[in-house]
Subunit: 189 residues, 2 copies
């Protein structure tokens, strides 16, 4: 029976998230989706090609159906970082970060995909924030927010603690609103 591509990709994502790039084997993936290894190589030319597929799927699930700009900037900002934080807390690890650490110059396609993945996150947050503050400030706050969320994920992964993630969300929102307020003072609308 035919196995859908998305099944393979999302199963590969689970494996990459829990075991990393080197630790996840094509055999494990084949077993998990109910195929033989050779059938996987019909769909994907090699293991590395799974990485862009996995990250693209994740990007689409995170930002896919949002129509940017239809609401207040801060409502959109809160929604998206809470979505990311919830996913990271539930899954316990970030696939993107695990792949970032697990790829190197020997896997250039995977490395590029990881860069694109984080750049897309930063760009998306930055475009929301820049509606309320200068673009350079928006970019820094977007970066720092992502850094906080990734760092808090480490405490979920290592200790199972979720408090750090809650504080990361709350403090990141507070920082964004503070920057927006400072901006509206210097250049009122």
């Amino acid at each position: 029976m035919k196995v859908m591509r998305e099944t393979i990709v999302s199963t590969a994502r689970e494996l990459f998230r829990s075991r990393g790039y080197a630790g996840a084997s094509m055999n494990d993936l084949a077993d998990a989706v109910g195929l033989k290894k050779s059938s996987l190589y019909v769909r994907f030319p090699n293991k590395e090609a799974l990485v862009p597929a996995v990250l693209d799927l994740t990007l689409q699930e995170t930002f896919g159906q949002k129509d940017l700009g239809s609401r207040q900037w801060d409502a959109e900002f809160v929604e998206v970082i809470e979505l990311i934080a919830t996913t990271l807390t539930d899954r316990g690890r970030c696939v993107g970060l695990h792949l970032a650490y697990g790829t190197s110059d020997e896997t250039p396609i995977a490395k590029d995909a990881v860069r694109a993945f984080f750049q897309a996150h930063r760009d998306y947050l930055s475009s929301i924030l820049s509606r309320a503050m200068p673009v350079d400030v928006a970019r820094d706050i977007a970066t720092d927010t992502l850094a906080r969320l990734e760092g808090a994920t480490a405490f979920v992964a290592i200790f199972g603690e979720k408090d750090a993630m809650k504080r990361a969300v709350r403090l990141s929102i507070a920082e964004a609103q503070k920057a927006a307020a400072a901006n509206s003072l210097s250049s009122p609308s």
Copy 2:
């Protein structure tokens, strides 16, 4: 010629940092230190046993020769997080985090060592901060500081950017001083 244990451990650290637990092989380590693989197994019972050795060495290098309490709390806090930040920026990755993501229930000894590693970091920072604020506040700020540093490291690893790390250091210091000031108002010395 005899190869020192510390040479093996610090070389293993480089490998774990760059390739992760699964990606680093005993063969690579043997080649890098100029030994045969069989000689490595004389010193370490298995690959997993390298993990506590690597993390203990790192802990000792980070906190080893400090005598806590001999100076102002904030001078000590700044010094230690700048040391950590500089190491993370220079090396581009955190061994502890790479091992945290790379170990699982199948490697319980490594997993425990990772927990101890991060717990030691948190305890050390927390003990400095608690000289200027309540212990629960100190613990949260210590955790958030480590999370910021780890998250900023991701941007070094992925984009080669060092700015996020600089902001993480600056903002973490500011948060700590703000909490200390709030505490000294409510309970002046």
